[in-house]
Symmetry: C2
Subunit: 209 residues, 2 copies
């Protein structure tokens, strides 16, 4: 098994994920959030969409078996495994503006939005092209009235979610920077890319020569 | 009072709405949905965002007093009046793809998405720049499990919602084309633009000469 890589607290990265590869996002210490974005590597105008996902999955609570869909109604990522079962696809990445709004007395941070913008810029993705992220482990309970709140994640150390790429993707991924989403603690996020399994009877290339 | 204009069944329009003007969206026959989009007239890269709205309003049920925020964390529209109290900001405009998915045995229509794309193209707004719309009168109950369904609107003939522009906007507005969102009937939507009231003691321009 490949060793996981680490995203330091309050930072973010971007990388390519090929069709069929499995991204595992791990909460190494527990009670932390990772904002996840996925763009088509062939055309970054195509990106995961909370609205299209809610349309086709007919739920706002996404876990094993659910698919994250793009703004062009294409499957982007399928959730293959999930030891937490509580994530958020309603709220936007924290940003300078959300820090000013929610934490006016605390130091301003550019947040997951700033980290994603920096990491995705080399792929030609602009700030305006950052939609609602799939917020792994983020705990946003809804009341019957529709009111929502951001509570500490229920994830424990080592909990993870696994997502299979359904096409070639550019991934953006953060260790969340906001106070409320991780219970006031800033922790790292780990991740690894698992290669697709080879079919047991698939002949090696050399056998065909 | 200005007479309302009519959007014919299964069609859409776009127009400018200046800061301070009030858009009234009316359901003339009841049980119909209108998909509403708003872009900054100064830079159409700025558009209403369900995620930023859920962030700042801390609810997914939006009615009188709530604000629709942009992807750049700016106020776009404030709901001033609402005789229905049930709208949706979770689901995307119906499209060729959603018709294929949900109504495979029925004739394919380009839907609110196609109508919005056509109406907004002259303003330089591309299909990929169409996010989740604010779906006036759309009835999307959520179960505690997170599962959602699209039910007939509860709006009665003459019901309306009023929204004040907080900056100069390009508005996209439709009479919905999908089967389930309007209970299987395709009806028109009416709308009118109400000019901002003049302050009672504001001198007329001529008085100042």
């Amino acid at each position: 098994m490949i060793e996981p890589s680490r995203i330091p607290p309050r930072s973010g990265i971007a990388f390519r994920l090929r069709s069929g590869e499995i991204l595992e996002v791990i909460d190494p210490h527990g009670c932390q959030v990772a904002d996840l974005l996925a763009y088509s590597a062939d055309d970054v105008g195509e990106v995961i969409s909370n609205g299209r996902t809610f349309d086709y999955e007919e739920t706002i609570c996404l876990t094993t078996g659910n698919v994250l869909w793009s703004n062009r109604s294409r499957k982007m990522l399928t959730i293959l495994g999930d030891t937490v079962g509580r994530h958020d696809f309603l709220l936007t990445p924290c940003s300078v503006d959300t820090f000013r709004h929610f934490y006016p007395d605390k130091p301003i941070h550019h947040g997951c939005f700033g980290n994603l913008a920096q990491a995705l810029a080399p792929y030609g993705i602009s700030e305006d092209a950052i939609p609602v992220a799939f917020n792994c482990f983020m705990n946003v309970p809804l009341q019957n009235s529709g009111r929502l709140s951001v509570e500490p994640p229920v994830s424990r150390p080592g909990d993870f979610i696994q997502l299979r790429a359904e096409c070639d993707l550019i991934i953006g991924l953060t260790a969340c920077s906001a106070y409320s989403s991780n219970g006031g603690s800033f922790k790292p996020i780990d991740y690894r890319v698992i290669l697709p399994p080879t079919a047991p009877n698939e002949p090696a290339e050399a056998d065909q020569s």
